[in-house]
Symmetry: C3
Subunit: 142 residues, 3 copies
């Protein structure tokens, strides 16, 4: 059995999705784990993770449209807006999506479906550097 | 320590919940894991997983009502609707629920609460075959 | 490799967040795991888990405001309301947040970000006792 924990940083430019599947797959490959799990975790409360359709960019565009409507920045009654209108709304959008995502590993590979990619979901308007932690754990070859 | 990754397929007929607790419990039992985790993962972006009340079917009915209202299919402004009005809405409903669910194992059993069941949540109108991956990992007896 | 599964109980008084990071950190410390994961799981369908901003209480207040508006208790058309208006709404709020949360462990510590805390999210009006399960798994020192 093997257990390794590593981290990497992703720069974001604005609200939206950035695919990080390849970075996670690299950690899985170098770990030597055959059957196990990859636990991906974002160390922030104003950005999150989602597994999402990775073939057609229009799906990501509609997802942003949905969240702009569901958690609008011009909502009245919020207190936690010190850093701007996208402060509390970023925390709420993070709660509605995911901080950790666990993907099974089988035969040494991430068991993602054909159309699935793992994405960082930035909720702030301004560029940020986001830290992602990856734990890979499971049985080793031979 | 043991780590096993397997998969099974669940047919769905329409939008709604299908309980898969028994299938996952079977993989836990046959693994021989005493203390550990069962990671359940759905390999699709238009269906998801939820842990939900499993005693009274009226709860699942209300959950569907809620999602029909929160993410209505007749929303204007979506682009990703090539496969029909339930195309992008299925992806959004998936994002708002879960792709992976991790359940601790203690004493060789899933540590679910009395009223908890694990469900596949189908978001498409038409029947589908959905592939579920289960990783069971942890300490072994003796 | 080590795998331990334990549980603890948290009393809640009303709707809202209760931080449980310290309890989980204690289980990680006593496990002796260096690199691995802490899987935290709530055994209920009317309370949930969230990783959330833990510095400013106004963020939690706004989160409650958001959920009162998104899943209001005076909604028409629900069937599952036997235990009161906060019955089905609690289940729905649980589905929109998380039942399990997996936090990577690195160097013997939870890899949480600076502003992240793990919280129990109570959705019922009345006080409850909530059972939390923690599995800690990974490589051991030496």
């Amino acid at each position: 059995m093997i257990a390794t924990t590593n981290s990497f940083t992703i720069p974001t430019r604005e609200k939206g999705l950035t695919e990080i599947t390849a970075e996670v797959a690299k950690h899985v490959a170098s770990s030597g784990v055959v059957d196990g799990t990859a636990t991906v975790f974002i160390r922030h409360t104003s950005a999150s993770l989602v597994i999402f359709e990775n073939a057609d960019p229009s799906a990501a565009q509609d997802l942003l449209t949905f969240f702009e409507r569901l958690v609008p920045e011009d909502t009245e009654g919020y207190v936690h807006t010190l850093e701007g209108a996208d402060d509390i709304t970023s925390h709420i959008r993070m709660v509605l999506t995911r901080t950790s995502e666990v993907i099974p590993i089988g035969g040494g590979k991430l068991m993602l479906g054909t159309w699935q990619g793992l994405f960082l979901f930035e909720h702030r308007r301004a560029p940020h550097r986001r830290e992602i932690v990856v734990n890979v754990m499971g049985s080793s070859r031979g």
